[in-house]
């Protein structure tokens, strides 16, 4: 569905999308499409050349956001392992922007270990985790981000677990840029994506987004409007949240840039060491 027809005015961001591939296969009203849109806008506003970007994704609906939609080098990997692949990619590609886009089940469930270690290393990659509180692609099973009590296909009697605060986890693990937004916060999301992409070090943005089908069914929401209304009502910006008690924040989604600092970055430290050692090695007598 492409066009050069003059009577159709296209969203200018479509130049970042693989030709002939739209419309997306996302369910009606899926937050994933919104994230794609905002990501393209961020790239556009930053003036990046997509040829200097590489998208690394995992398995799940959110992993389809860049693959096959965003037109750039794309490495669509195995479930939960995108960040590990991306680390190898980034070490070998100092000139490229490495971006992981995947879902909460992929990144914080099966991929949790890789997430925290990449954060600890402060690897210079950008991870956008779309959190829809469910394993959507497989039909709606409970996820590490599903709130207690929710009835999913694998918690038919109600979820007996508590959900992850993934952004908090990642910040504690050593990430140097951490933000959380929802698909209600469009311009905030774009700005945050730009900050994350520009940030030298491990940057993480959690985007709470609607799964209108699998999760909508679990919590009785009829469409994206129900979700967006809830995000709008439950969101509290960080500045205000800081003045609220734990009790008041109980049911709230704290949004904003939660952490931003500069720390030694993994790849740069590795490069520096290799430079140093390889130069010294030419003078050394030691050999195995």
């Amino acid at each position: 569905m492409t066009s050069n027809r003059k009577d159709v005015v296209e969203n200018p961001l479509r130049r970042y999308v693989r030709p002939g591939i739209l419309p997306t296969i996302f369910c009606t009203g899926c937050g994933g499409g919104t994230v794609l849109n905002c990501f393209c806008r961020a790239v556009d506003e930053l003036g990046y050349d997509p040829h200097e970007m590489v998208m690394v994704t995992g398995i799940g609906c959110s992993s389809w956001i860049p693959s096959p939609y965003f037109l750039a080098d794309t490495l669509h990997t195995t479930h939960g392992r995108a960040i590990a692949f991306a680390t190898g990619v980034r070490v070998m590609s100092p000139g490229m922007k490495v971006v992981v886009i995947a879902g909460d089940g992929d990144v914080s469930g099966i991929g949790g270990n890789h997430l925290i270690h990449a954060a600890r290393r402060n690897v210079d990659i950008t991870v956008l985790m779309v959190n829809n509180s469910i394993y959507g692609m497989t039909g709606g099973q409970v996820a590490p981000t599903t709130p207690p009590g929710v009835r999913t296909t694998t918690t038919p009697h109600g979820n007996v677990e508590t959900e992850f605060d993934v952004a908090g986890l990642v910040a504690a693990a050593g990430a140097t840029y951490v933000a959380r937004w929802t698909t209600w916060h469009l311009y905030d999301m774009v700005r945050s994506f730009k900050e994350a992409l520009e940030h030298p070090g491990f940057s993480f943005v959690e985007i709470i987004g609607q799964c209108t089908t699998s999760y909508g069914k679990a919590v009785g929401k009829r469409g994206p409007a129900d979700f967006l209304t809830e995000y709008r009502e439950r969101s509290v910006r960080l500045a205000r949240a800081k003045k609220m008690s734990e009790e008041e924040l109980e049911d709230k989604i704290v949004v904003g840039c939660l952490k931003q600092k500069e720390s030694p970055e993994f790849c740069q430290r590795l490069y520096d060491q290799v430079d140093q050692v390889s130069t010294a090695a030419l003078g050394a007598e030691e050999y195995p």
């Binding site: 296209e10 899926c30 919104t34």
Partner: protein, 89 residues
């Protein structure tokens, strides 16, 4: 393809053309959620895709905030400022 030229708005002194590509629109209604001045409605007529698409029913109310364009999951919407002199921006 549904485009309506806006009347000159009192408040913003700008006119906007709101374009919804019905080959992509799947009628999810997200644009209705984002749009404060209620520019959109869901059309009662089926589009070529076989769904009820969003149409800009009241483009004269459009403030050019661009939330619909940015939020549309199918990248189906383009909001273009109309030059006050009369040409398209």
């Amino acid at each position: 393809m549904d485009t309506m030229v806006t009347e000159k708005t009192e408040k913003w002194n700008r006119r906007y053309r709101v374009h919804v590509d019905h080959r992509l629109c799947d009628g999810c209604g997200v644009c209705l959620c984002y749009c404060k001045p209620s520019v959109f409605r869901i059309s009662p007529e089926l589009s070529g895709r076989g769904i009820f698409p969003a149409v800009p029913e009241a483009p004269q109310s459009c403030t050019g905030c661009g939330l619909c364009e940015l939020g549309c999951p199918q990248l189906a919407i383009a909001v273009v400022a109309d030059d006050p002199e009369g040409g398209a921006a």
